[in-house]
Structures are given as C-alpha cells and as structure tokens.
C-alpha cells in the first residue's frame, strides 16, 4: 500500500446555508488514480475544488473539518493557497487555454514562479508537451494561438500547462465531458501514464471512464460519501445498494 497523499477528515462545506458536503472522510494514496463518481449535484466537483482551495473564490463558502496534504491541514492558518496550488494542479471541465500562443500557455506557470531563462523555459515547454502527448502535433507551431487548436488538443495543452509547474497532484474535474470519444481515449491514456509520477484525483460522470482509469473509486450522493474502495470492488461487489444502483445505471 502506498503512502497517503491527501486525506479528508470530516469535511463539511456550506454555500451560504446550503450544505454541499457532509462529513467527507477519505484518503487518497500517492501516485494512484482516485475517481470520484456520482450524479450531478452530488458535490463531487465541490469536493475536488476543496483540494486546491479553488472554493476560496466562492463567496459565502464555509468549510469545517480537515483536509490534509502531506500531513498538513491545507485549511490551516499558515497555509498559503497560492503556494498550495503550485503543488496541486488542476485541469478543468471545459478546456480553458489562455488566449495566447501555445508556448506562452505552457510557459505561463513557470514564468509566474519567476523563471526567466529562455533555454530553461524552452526545455520545460518541450518536456511538458511531450508528457501530455501533444508535442508531435504542435512542436513546430508553438507560436500559434492556443485558441486555434481542437478541443482535445486544447485539453492536452491545459494538462501540459499544469505539468509545467511540476505539481505533485493533478486534479481532473470532468476533463472529458466536452470532448469527443477519440480525444477522450487520448486523455485517458495520458492519465494512465501520468499516474506513475503524479497523484491523480479525477471527477467523472462517466462510469466506464472511472472503471478504466482509476485504482480507487469514491461514490458521492447528495453531498455524502456513500462508499469508497478499490475500483474493482466498487463496481463488482459494492457494499451499499445505492452504489450498485448507480454503477449499474439504474439512476444517475
């Protein structure tokens, strides 16, 4: 069993007076893929956005409980969200490259963190694009606008952009929901490769995807964690009735 990288203990979250997450307790192991599944509005995206403190942007969002990353509560007083996000990258639902060149997109993160050396930047851009399996397609058009790429390419560019910051964890928030099946397959292959080097948490409403890419699966329903375990077990021998109903497609 590998080390625990992220651990949530009794995490509650309210938007105003509406409770969106209820006492979530689960542990995500290092260099494994943890999938979070559940019907729309079950709090899975809300939960993943807690891990890199993106919910800080939401007004009236209140969080209690603990979320440990490498043993430190990221909602503790001494934690700087900006520093945290360098270690915990995120790929969003809709591909969101900046309206700049492909190169500038990938170099954005390293530049944010003060890197100015052109050769070093070139190297990171190339490495990151290779790691996201995009180099062969864009290696010679790096100065082209990222907006001109296809949706699938844009999403892999966003992954490259995240890799360039050299995070430890990558959060994927329904990364394929806006993509076609071929692009989706490429992203899934990529996740399978990336898990050797990164801890990955992926939110998906596609159960086949969870089954294909993840080692562990958490099933959320109405803000509660219903069941968490090895992916194989969740899909083949779930303990709870509602998990089985969901994974076999009886609701969702």
């Amino acid at each position: 069993m590998s080390e625990i990288e992220i651990e949530s203990r009794n995490l509650d979250l309210w938007y105003g007076s509406a409770q969106a997450l209820k006492a979530i307790t689960m542990a995500m192991p290092e260099k494994k893929v943890t999938a979070i599944i559940g019907p729309s509005g079950c709090g899975k995206s809300t939960f993943i956005r807690c891990i890199n403190r993106m919910n800080d942007l939401v007004k009236d969002c209140r969080i209690t409980g603990e979320l440990l990353f490498e043993g430190t509560n990221i909602y503790g007083n001494s934690v700087d969200a900006v520093e945290l996000r360098k270690k915990i990258g995120m790929v969003f639902q809709k591909p969101n490259p900046f309206p700049m060149s492909i190169y500038d997109n990938v170099a954005y993160g390293p530049r944010v963190h003060g890197l100015r050396n052109r050769e070093e930047l070139d190297r990171i851009v190339e490495e990151s694009l290779k790691a996201s399996a995009l180099w062969n397609e864009v290696g010679d058009i790096l100065d082209r606008s990222a907006i001109d790429l296809s949706g699938g390419q844009q999403q892999r560019l966003c992954i490259a952009r995240t890799l360039a910051v050299k995070p430890k964890v990558i959060l994927f928030d329904e990364p394929c929901s806006a993509l076609d099946p071929i692009s989706t397959a490429k992203i899934e292959d990529l996740i399978n490769t990336l898990k050797h080097d990164y801890t990955i948490v992926i939110v998906t409403h596609n159960m086949q995807q969870a089954a294909r890419v993840s080692d562990h699966t958490a099933f959320f329903l109405l803000g509660e964690l219903v069941e968490f375990g090895k992916t194989k077990q969740i899909f083949e021998l779930p303990e709870k009735k509602s998990t089985e109903d969901y994974t076999t497609g009886r609701f969702g």
Partner: protein
C-alpha cells in the same frame, strides 16, 4: 398578419427612420452651411492655417483653425493621461477586488458623477481650479492643464464603466486557470485579465477621447480661448481655444463667411469625433469576434 401588428411594426419603423433622418439632415445642413468657406479658402488652408482672424479691420480675413484642432486634441489627450490610469485602476478594483457593498457604493457615486451638468463642472473649474493653477503653477490659470483636468473628471465615469464591463466579461475560466497554476490574484489581473479585456478598454479610451473632443461648456470656461498655439508648444499652462469653444464664442455675432467658417469648424469636429467613434466600435467588435 394582423392589422394591429402591422401598424405597430410600421410605427416602430418610422421611429427608427426618424432618428436616421435627423442625423442625415444635420449632416446635410452642416455641409450646406460650411462648405462655401471650405471651397473658398481650401480645405488644407482651412485645417492647417495658423491664423484665425475672421473680422479683419484692415486687409483680408483669414480662417485657419490649425491651433484649434491642436487645442482640441491637446486637452483631450491631456484628460486621457489623467483619466485612463485612474479609471482603469478604479475599474480593476470594482470588477476584481471590491466586495459587493463597496461596489454598489462606488457604482452609485460614478453614476452621480455622470449626472453633474458640465456647466457646473466648468463653474467649479473656474472658481477653484483656475485660481489654484495660477497661484501654484504660474501662468494665467486658464490653461490646457485646467481644461484637461475638468475633461478628465468628465471622462472618468465612462472609462470606468466600460472598462469594468470589459473586465467582468473576461471568461471566468481564464481566471481560474491562472489561479490554479499558482498565480497570485494581482499576477492574474495583470497577465490574463487585463490583456483579455484589452479591446474593450481601448474602446473605452477612444470613446472617452471622442467625447472629450466634443465637450464644450466646461472646457470653454477654463481654457482661456486664445486661438493661437501654445508657445512653447509643450507649455500646458498656456491658454488655448478648442474647436467647440470657437463655435460657441463667435456664433452670436458671425455673419457671411465668418458664420460659414464656424460651420466648417463644426464639420471638422464632426469628422474627428465620427472617426474616433468608428475606431472605438471596431475595437469593441474585434473583441466579440475573438470571444468564443
């Protein structure tokens, strides 16, 4: 189609047509009144002539409005130098930083600023600003500087509200992507949000410039209105006469060619403002084009 529907549509069409017709009639009237002197003097001599002497006691009258074109641009650009940094900073604060209560207070304050009649701003300029400049910076007080400051106050609300809209229409995803990469809020504003809002901001600035050039009353009261170039040309404490002031000041007693020359000044003014408006709309449209 029902008759009542048809009547309503016809009425709506007529209202739209009226607006267009009024604009067309004004242009035709301006041209009819102004063209004779433009033809007589020549467009180039009229626009680039240095001497404005419409009622010559001895010799030929001369109609050169170059110092006034310069003056119009001078005070307008001066106002932008003051208003753009201030307005942009205010817009960034409004759109990105202000909590909702501060935002609503500021928004109301800015609306109030729009509502102040320009003659009142001019009056304040006349009794406060002009003596202040005279006492602390020297010169006559009536100056490019005074005109620019008053115009800047008038341009601020427009720059703020259009820039605010432009900043707020930057897709939220860009901001999230930047923050998720570990960028600070300020870095995100500078490197992602402002560049993405650039065309809207440019449109706001050009529109503000067009309005400043067309503004009359407030400027008239504080710029001194001497129809000559400042000497030396960069002396912002010198008085000048913008095109708008020229028309207002002399309209009441002008006849013949003199009156025609004032209309011709109006034509030049109209063209300058129209061109700036077109550029501004282009800038806004190009934003729409690239947004997905």
């Amino acid at each position: 189609m029902k008759t009542s529907e048809r009547i309503i549509e016809l009425l709506l069409f007529l209202s739209a047509a009226t607006a267009v017709t009024i604009v067309a009639l004004i242009i035709i009237f301006l041209l009819k009144e102004g063209l004779p002197v433009l033809v007589k003097v020549g467009i180039i001599d009229f626009c680039l002539g240095m001497k404005w002497n419409p009622i010559a006691i001895a010799g030929e009258p001369s109609y050169g409005i170059f110092p006034m074109i310069v003056a119009s641009f001078y005070v307008a650009i001066g106002s932008l130098i003051i208003a753009v940094p201030l307005g942009l900073a205010c817009a960034v604060f409004l759109a990105e930083i202000a909590p909702s209560w501060a935002r609503s207070i500021l928004k109301h304050a800015i609306e109030l600023l729009v509502g102040i009649p320009s003659v009142i701003l001019g009056f304040v300029g006349l009794v406060l600003l002009v003596p202040f400049i005279r006492d602390h910076f020297g010169g006559w007080g009536f100056s490019i500087l005074a005109g620019s400051i008053i115009l800047a106050i008038m341009a601020l609300p427009r720059i703020i509200s259009i820039s605010d809209d432009a900043i707020r229409s930057v897709p939220r995803e860009y901001k999230e992507a930047s923050l998720a990469l570990g960028a600070t809020h300020w870095h995100t504003i500078r490197k992602v949000i402002l560049p993405s809002a650039r065309s809207g901001i440019v449109a706001a600035v050009i529109l503000a410039m067009a309005t400043s050039i067309g503004e009359t009353m407030a400027v008239l009261m504080v710029v001194g209105n001497t129809p000559i170039l400042p000497a030396p040309i960069y002396d912002i404490l010198d008085p000048v006469r913008p095109m708008t002031s020229n028309i207002v000041l002399e309209m009441s007693y002008a006849t013949g060619d003199h009156a025609s020359a004032l209309f011709a000044t109006g034509i030049v003014l109209f063209i300058v403002v129209a061109v700036l408006n077109v550029i501004s709309h282009r800038a806004l449209k190009s934003k729409m084009g690239t947004r997905r």
